[in-house]
């Protein structure tokens, strides 16, 4: 089974509540968003600081909706699943690679993803040149080594795909609601209605010194 490895210094995620009907609009039919409460689904923002990959070092911001995993007899049972509806990366090469290999939809200009770590806080600032796109902040909790399996769904035209992704590294998560979010007027945020998205994450997740391992892309 061919595997693709991406080594990162930091992978920082924050989960925000978003109205289910808005989340559904960001998904291809018949995919459904997972509900955290009735009527409330999950917008997941994840920033990666890759220092080693087959397309070199780069930074990435992933905007995704959390969805139910595809459960099939004989398959490993995933911890979560998501549908990334937009990614931004800091290099053209990484963008081209992710589009061709994983069918991931990208904002087609370079973006800067800044990681500002201070005293158990991590602030993520995503910019295009001088124009801010979004900022979010998470805090840590206890750090433990993990090896988690996630599913990622993508599509290309009418074709639908799934890839299993292993995340290994030192990991912390909590729901203390200490984080923040700021969305700016930028094309990357055009599908996100600011007033409808919680301004602080209900869950904060942070992995350090880890590896993201993609299995083969499967056609559904």
């Amino acid at each position: 089974m061919p595997l693709t490895f991406y080594h990162f210094k930091n992978a920082v995620s924050a989960f925000f509540e978003i109205p289910t009907e808005r989340a559904r609009e960001l998904l291809p039919a018949p995919m459904q968003p997972l509900e955290v409460h009735h009527g409330s689904s999950i917008l997941a923002l994840t920033a990666f600081d890759f220092h080693d990959s087959m397309v070199g070092a780069y930074q990435e911001i992933v905007l995704a909706i959390v969805v139910p995993p595809l459960v099939k007899s004989g398959d490993p049972f995933p911890k979560s699943a998501m549908y990334p509806f937009l990614l931004g990366t800091s290099t053209a090469e990484s963008r081209q690679h992710a589009i061709e290999r994983w069918r991931l939809p990208h904002y087609m200009k370079n973006v800067d993803v800044k990681f500002e770590e201070t005293n158990r806080h991590m602030r993520i600032r995503v910019m295009e040149g001088e124009n801010p796109i979004l900022d979010f902040e998470v805090t840590d909790y206890n750090w433990d080594p993990v090896d988690q399996l996630h599913q990622c769904f993508t599509r290309d035209g009418q074709s639908r795909f799934k890839v299993d992704i292993h995340m290994k590294g030192k990991f912390t998560e909590h729901e203390e609601e200490r984080g923040t979010l700021e969305l700016y007027d930028h094309p990357m945020c055009r599908n996100l209605v600011r007033d409808e998205i919680a301004d602080r994450p209900f869950r904060e997740l942070w992995m350090k010194d880890g590896t993201q391992i993609f299995e083969e892309l499967q056609t559904l």
């Binding site: 490895f5 009527g39 087959m54 780069y58 139910p68 459960v71 206890n142 399996l149 729901e175």
Partner: protein
């Protein structure tokens, strides 16, 4: 940070990485769904994996074609999760839920006797009061075991009418509608009153029965941050149409009290009706025990009062108290009322007697609050984190999810019966024990309970 494209150096990195990666393998920590779950080798494969990173939430939803798709992975997880700690839930009690109880530990198949009971809801100790039991026995002898009918058909007895009338007088409301459980009271009320297109705004920590009632109503829903008045206002702003705000008197996992005056003011400003679920506060709070709304002097400002009989009165059932027009409407549209068997006659008679006691023995409420204050002090004196509790529901915040089951086992084995609460019942890493204090606890029992809790927590450096 923008990276210059450098394909040659990337190629070099890729080749050295390829050699390194050949030696790596994925650990396979994710549980594998057995292709044939009944096959021993498949089961062994599942059980060899580490399931501790999974919880109930992982098995809630999955896509695919088979409606049973989640059963095998859940079963495989449960086989490991249950002995690891989930067995602590629902262990059979073999005595009355008094302040000392005996419980059968299902893991070790042994009986644990004389545990100080800090788990039961029996806030006023009424479930085993002799006069309550006598009333229940006499009614059972006269009317039989069950009501044998829906309240709107043959299930209404004179006892039900007596209880509803007495309760309406006690609550100083025009009318009361009875339900078989507190859960069905919330379902029936919310889904009976609200419709698609309406808006319900509920506290984010609202009980599951409130959430389920909202789902059944098909109304739009927004949850506001717990007890945050400004967030309630944000959620109400801009909506035109019918609006219902739902809060609880005492929150069942944290024991804190609703900020009712501020919330009522916002509701009035936005033309929203407000409903209070006083499951853990009615018969306990306020000068006459009518609940948190009475405590704040806001009984008339709150539109709908809901309560249960299972906690303070030690029986079972739920009720809605409010204007007669509301109750008459719900009598026809609260489907959990219409389509459920009425409360059992024995229980109903016991509740009538228990309500009498609540009104004639106010010292019970005083004793309960004194006991709760004592327990809070005993714990706080040792630096135990009990959150924001100001009621008889006292959380012991452990926070670290991985510790909660081992701590629970130690506490039970050392003589205290209490329940661990962990995600997804509460937020991740907000694990806790939830203590339920009773007016019947003696000082000695409270001290013994606190001693055990403090001893165990000290052992793990969780208090001083």
């Amino acid at each position: 940070m923008k990276q210059p494209l450098d394909t040659s150096s990337n190629a070099l990195r890729a080749s050295t990485r390829a050699a390194r990666e050949k030696e790596r393998a994925i650990d396979g920590a994710a549980p594998v769904i057995p292709a044939r779950p009944d096959a021993p080798d498949a089961a062994a494969q599942v059980y060899n994996n580490d399931f501790s990173d999974y919880d109930y939430s992982n098995f809630y939803s999955g896509s695919g074609d088979d409606a049973f798709a989640l059963l095998d992975p859940f079963d495989a997880w449960w086989a490991q999760a249950r002995p690891a700690g989930y067995y602590l839930f629902g262990q059979p009690m073999v005595t009355a839920p008094k302040t000392r109880v005996s419980v059968v530990e299902t893991k070790g198949h042994r009986r644990l006797d004389n545990l100080v009971n800090l788990a039961s809801y029996n806030y006023l100790g009424l479930s085993y009061r002799p006069e309550v039991i006598d009333a229940a026995v006499q009614a059972t002898q006269r009317y039989g075991l069950g009501a044998s009918g829906s309240p709107i058909l043959s299930g209404t007895f004179d006892l039900h009418e007596e209880l509803a009338e007495n309760l309406a007088k006690f609550k100083k409301k025009e009318a009361v509608l009875l339900f078989s459980t507190g859960y069905s009271a919330n379902l029936g009320l919310i889904a009976g009153l609200m419709r698609p297109g309406d808006l319900i705004v509920a506290d984010q920590w609202a009980h599951a029965s409130i959430v389920d009632g909202i789902i059944l109503s098909k109304a739009n829903v927004r949850f506001f941050r717990h007890n945050r008045v400004e967030d309630l206002e944000k959620k109400l702003k801009g909506f035109h149409g019918k609006k219902l705000v739902i809060v609880e008197g005492v929150y069942s996992m944290d024991g804190d009290i609703v900020k009712l005056p501020e919330l009522v003011e916002v509701c009035r400003r936005y033309g929203a009706r407000i409903m209070i679920d006083e499951a853990h506060s009615t018969f306990l709070f306020g000068e006459n025990g009518r609940g948190v709304a009475e405590k704040f002097g806001l009984e008339d400002e709150v539109d709908i009062h809901l309560g249960t009989f299972s906690k303070s009165l030690g029986g079972m059932g739920g009720f809605v108290a409010g204007p007669r027009k509301l109750v008459n409407y719900l009598r026809g549209f609260a489907r959990s009322h219409v389509f459920s068997c009425a409360l059992a006659p024995g229980v109903t008679a016991g509740l009538i007697k228990a309500l009498d006691i609540v009104q004639t023995e106010p010292e019970l409420r005083a004793k309960l609050h004194e006991n709760a204050a004592t327990m809070r002090r005993l714990l706080r004196d040792h630096g135990v984190d009990i959150g924001e509790s100001t009621s008889q529901v006292i959380p012991i915040m452990i926070r670290r999810d991985e510790l909660i089951f081992p701590l629970a086992e130690e506490m039970i084995h050392e003589g205290v019966y209490l329940h661990p609460i962990k995600y997804p019942a509460v937020s991740k890493h907000r694990s806790r024990f939830r203590l339920s204090i009773s007016a019947s606890h003696t000082q000695e029992q409270l001290e013994q309970g606190a001693d055990v809790i403090v001893r165990v927590l000290k052992r793990h450096n969780l208090c001083r």
